[in-house]
């Protein structure tokens, strides 16, 4: 029974951190979901790909950090450099996503690789995966806290399992976002989604550059 205790803790920690994780992923996830086509099923599939890639990001980071012994002692300076690079990458993906969604068209025609409103094919996965992976690597505070706790466990496998249960707890909060599939997609919604992505990408870009050049990412 004692071996399960950390994982119950991980799940509870994930549930408690869920709002913060949703707030962290919201600026990326909400406009990209809006740029996808209507349908709860389609949006749920998109969300699943996003979350799976996010989990992959968590696990890759956890495994690498464990191996190099840096999980518990990931220095703030190194963390900021990594976050800066991830933010710039996120901005680039969002810019490309906004550009790709420029063709809102009838169901029979296809658009770019990242976004497709064609009913016959479902090729939104690469975009969802890219965004999910990058948000998973963005080291939000709940993730860092989970990492520090996971580092106290005996093996890399336990650490990875801890992250997985933590992730499951946070993901509960994302389920309602599949309801965005109920929103009808038309030129207005797609245009708003694209513009929002550009604005958020600009923010991430400025944040990433500020982090990389060592400037405080706030003005006051």
């Amino acid at each position: 029974m004692a071996a399960f205790v950390p994982f119950g803790e991980a799940l509870a920690f994930g549930l408690a951190s869920g709002p913060a994780c949703m707030a962290a992923c919201g600026p990326v996830l909400v406009p990209s979901l809006l740029a996808e086509r209507t349908g709860i099923g389609h949006n749920a599939r998109y969300l699943s790909v996003f979350l799976s890639a996010r989990l992959l990001g968590y696990l890759v980071f956890a495994a690498v950090a464990w191996e190099i012994g840096a999980l518990a002692a990931f220095l703030p300076a190194s963390r900021i450099l990594l976050m800066g690079a991830v933010n710039i990458a996120l901005a680039c993906v969002l810019f490309w996503y906004a550009y790709s969604a420029r063709q809102f068209c009838a169901p029979s025609c296809s658009s770019s690789k990242l976004v497709n409103i064609d009913r016959k094919e479902d090729r939104g996965a690469p975009g969802a995966a890219a965004l999910g992976l990058l948000t998973g690597l963005s080291l939000c505070p709940p993730f860092v806290a989970a990492g520090i706790r996971a580092a106290q466990l005996g093996s890399v496998l336990q650490s990875l399992l801890f992250f997985t249960f933590f992730f499951a707890g946070t993901s509960v909060w994302f389920v309602p976002l599949a309801g965005m599939g109920c929103i009808a997609r038309n030129q207005a919604v797609i245009t708003v989604a694209r513009m929002t992505m550009v604005l958020i990408a600009l923010y991430y870009l400025s944040l990433g550059i500020a982090m990389l050049i060592g400037r405080k990412p706030y003005g006051y």
Binding site: P19, A20, A23, A24, C140, P141, Y218
Partner: protein
């Protein structure tokens, strides 16, 4: 007249009536209602509620509850300490402060009190427990790490060390 039209005109009439009521009733009702919702300004700005006062004779030190960041706020958790009244402070303040009330001092806080109220303040904080971060000649660096004068008090915010 059809029912819909009657409802429409009734709504329009009520709207005009609401406009006339606004300065006398609605404005106060809505304002008081909002104030009664129990919301509070983010403690990152307000410094958190006061929990203890340490009497130092002519002046006192008020200890606030520790403030922790929400969501993705980039600020660190901190504790705010208020020295007041400023008029009763010596030119050089150097106090041992028991933050958690366990009878043991947790910090030594030192700062000069210039005569000019608009002169910038600088503070040195020496933590006596690993719970707090040190501050050397700190000014107004960020919300979680600063010294400022607000009205008749000097406020010092000491960040909590990462755990």
């Amino acid at each position: 007249m059809k029912l819909r039209a009657k409802l429409g005109y009734t709504g329009a009439g009520l709207t005009v009536f609401a406009a006339l009521l606004t300065p006398f009733l609605l404005y106060g009702l809505f304002s008081d209602g909002f104030a009664a919702l129990g919301l509070h300004v983010d403690e990152m700005y307000s410094g958190g509620p006061k929990i203890r006062t340490i009497d130092k004779g002519a002046y006192s030190i008020t200890v606030h509850r520790a403030v922790y960041p929400h969501m993705l706020q980039t600020e660190k958790p901190f504790v705010q300490l208020d020295w007041s009244p400023v008029s009763a402070l010596p030119a050089h303040v150097s106090d041992l402060v028991d933050v958690d009330g366990d009878g043991q001092p947790d910090l030594r806080v030192s700062f000069e009190v210039p005569k000019d109220p608009k002169a910038p303040l600088r503070v040195d904080v020496e933590p006596l427990t690993p719970r707090f971060e040190a501050m050397r000649n700190a000014g107004k660096e960020r919300f979680s790490r600063l010294i400022v004068r607000v009205d008749n008090s000097v406020l010092v915010r000491v960040p909590l060390a990462s755990q």
